[in-house]
Point group: C2
Chain length 381, copies 2
Amino acid sequence: MIGVALLGYGVVGSGVADLLRQNAAHIARKAGQDIELRYILDIRDLSDTPYAGLAVKDFALIENDPAVRVVAECIGGVGVARDFIRRSLLAGKHVVTSNKELVAAHGAELLALAEARNLNFLFEASVGGGIPVLRPIAQCLAANRLSEVTGILNGTTNYILTRMFRQGVSFDEALAEARARGYAEADPSDDILGRDSCRKICILASLAFGKHIYPEQVETEGITALSGGDVAFAQAHGYRVKLLGRALRGENAPAIWVAPHLVSEDHPLAGVYDVFNGIWISGDAIGDVMFYGRGAGKLPTASAMVADIIDAVKHLSARKWVGWQPSEGGAPLPPKDLASAWYARFPDPADSLITPILTETEYAAWAEGQDIKPTYRIRVL
Amino acid sequence: MIGVALLGYGVVGSGVADLLRQNAAHIARKAGQDIELRYILDIRDLSDTPYAGLAVKDFALIENDPAVRVVAECIGGVGVARDFIRRSLLAGKHVVTSNKELVAAHGAELLALAEARNLNFLFEASVGGGIPVLRPIAQCLAANRLSEVTGILNGTTNYILTRMFRQGVSFDEALAEARARGYAEADPSDDILGRDSCRKICILASLAFGKHIYPEQVETEGITALSGGDVAFAQAHGYRVKLLGRALRGENAPAIWVAPHLVSEDHPLAGVYDVFNGIWISGDAIGDVMFYGRGAGKLPTASAMVADIIDAVKHLSARKWVGWQPSEGGAPLPPKDLASAWYARFPDPADSLITPILTETEYAAWAEGQDIKPTYRIRVL
C-alpha cells in the first residue's frame, strides 16, 4: 500500500482522483501494490465530491505524513506549485506533475533536486496530454541521436486553424467557436501567441538534446496575424497551415522556434486536425516517427499522470530518469540561417506566392527588393 | 561492463552490432555502464566484417560464459531461435528479440520462463520496427483499459497499396516494383497473404488484452484479390485501401482479424503511405492515440533492439515486465457480428457501391439477394 497526495482538484486533478478510484484494481495490478489516495489539497470546498474526507488545505499535513510517498501536482503555474514540489522532494517524496509552465521554466532545478535525493520527478502529462512521448524519447529512443523534434503542440490553435481551413471562417470567428466549445480559455493569449507551444517545445528539446532550453530563449510567433486568405492560399496550393514548435540539432547549438508553417498535405503532420496534437521525431537510426493523440483534456492528461504515478511506485528505489542537465552556456539559436521556401502575402492576394528556397535573411532582402512589398510571410516546412 | 551476445548477423543483427559500436559512448551513458559485444553467432563467415574476432559458431560458448548477461536474438523463425532463447533464459541471461514469428507463436511460454527466473524478455522490435509501441502500451497506458488496437503493420503491402493508389498500377506491377526496391522478399507470401500482419496484431492484442492470442486463431485475409478498380473506386469516394490488423475488446472475448479495409481519407491511418506503419490505440481515458514510423529496415529495427538491450541492462535485477499471461480458454472471435459499411464490387464497376451498415451475416444475405451477385467485398473502417 502506497500513499499518494494530490495537489489541486481542478480539471486534471479531479480526473486523476477519478481514475485512481475507478481503475483501482487494474492500477494496483500494474503497480504491483495498492495505491491509496490519502489527501487532496485544494482551497475549494470539496464536500460535494466523493473525496470530502480527503480534503486538506494545509500542505504541511502532506509534507509531514511519511505514508505519502508520491505527490501529484495539478495546481499549475510557477508559484505555490513550485514551492510545494520543492518541499515534497526535500521531504523525500516522489513527484509527478502535468505543469508544463513549471517544467519549462524550472525543470533543470527540480530534476537536480530529485536526482540528488534519488527520487522520481516525472512529467509525461506536461506535453501532448495523454500521448506517451517523453518516455519514448527518453527510453525507447535511447539508441538514437535525435536530430529533430517538430510538433503541433497546442490543441486550441489547431482547432482554430482547422475551422479556418474546413469552414473558411475568419480567425476571430474560429476563436469565438473555440471559446464556445470550451477549447479556449477566457484569456487565450498563451495559446494564440504561441507561448503554450513554446513551453512544450522547450521541454521536448531539453529532453531530446540533453540541456535545459528556457522559453525566453525561443523566438515565438503566434497565429494572430493569419488571415482567411492565407489559409485559402495554402489550401489551393496543396498545403495546410499549422502552428509548429520546432527544434533542430545544430553544429554548435540547436535552432528552436515556434511559428505558423505551411505543411504539405502529404506530410503526416498535415493530417493532424481539430484539438489533436502530433509530435514528429527524427533520429539517426529510427528515421522519422510520429506520435498522435489528444493533447489536452481531463481524462487523457489524467491518464498520463496516473501512468507516471504507477511508474514512480514501481521505481521507489531504482529511480526512473526522464530528464536533462542544467544548460551550460550555448543558448539555442533562432532559425535565421535555416533555408526554406516561404509563402509571401501581397496586398493583392493574386500576387501572393511561394518563394524559392531562401534563408530568413535572404527572404528579407528579396522582400525588400519587390516594388510592392509583401505584408506577411510564413515558412514552408 | 556488461557482456552482450548477438545471435545472427543478418540485416537486423549487423545493424545492432553497428549501432552498439558507433554509438557506444551515448549508449553507455544511457545504460549507466559500458556494453561489450562479446560474441556474434552466425554460420556465415564474418572474417570480412569489423567483428571477425567475435564470430562463433557454437552456442554453448555463449551459454557457458557468465560474462554474457544479455542475449540479442536476430536469427528469426521458430527453430533454433526458440531453442537458443530457451537455453539463454535457463542459463540466467536476459533476452531481447526482434522475432515476431516466435513471439506470436511462443511468447507466453518464453515470458513465463523469463518471469520464473526474474529475467527480462523484451521484444519491442518485433512490432512496428523502430516505432516505440509495445512499451507505451505496457507502461504509459497503464492507467487505461484499452478498447481497440488497429494497425497498418506491414510495410511491403502498404507500399504496394500506395503504388496502386498513387500511380494506378496493378497489384502485380506494384509487387514487382516492391521486389525491385528490396521491399518484398523472393517469396512475399507472408506479407501479401496477411500472415506477417497477423503475427503483429497477435502480439499487440496479447499485450493490450493480457492473454496470449495465437496466429492460427485469427481470421486472416491478404490483398491478393484486390484490383486496381477497387482502389480507384475507393479513391473516387474519399477512401484509401489499407491492410489492417484489428483487435477490439469484446464483452467476453476480443474480436481479432486481418483484412483490407476502406479507410476514410480524414482518418489519420489514411495518411500512412509507402513502407510506413501506423498503430492506432483507443483507451478509456486516453482516447485515440496513433504511433507512426518506419515499420522495418535495418537501422530502425536495430534501434529498437538496442533500446531493449539498454533497458535490460538497467533492469538486471528489477525486471521490466512487458508481457502477458498464457491464454485461458476464450479464443478470439472473427468479426462476424461487427456491423460496418461494406464496399461491394460488381462485375460491372459502374454497379459497385458502399452498402449501409451491416454485419457480415447481413452483408452475405444482402449479396445473395442481388440479381447480379457482387464478386468481392471490403469492410469500411
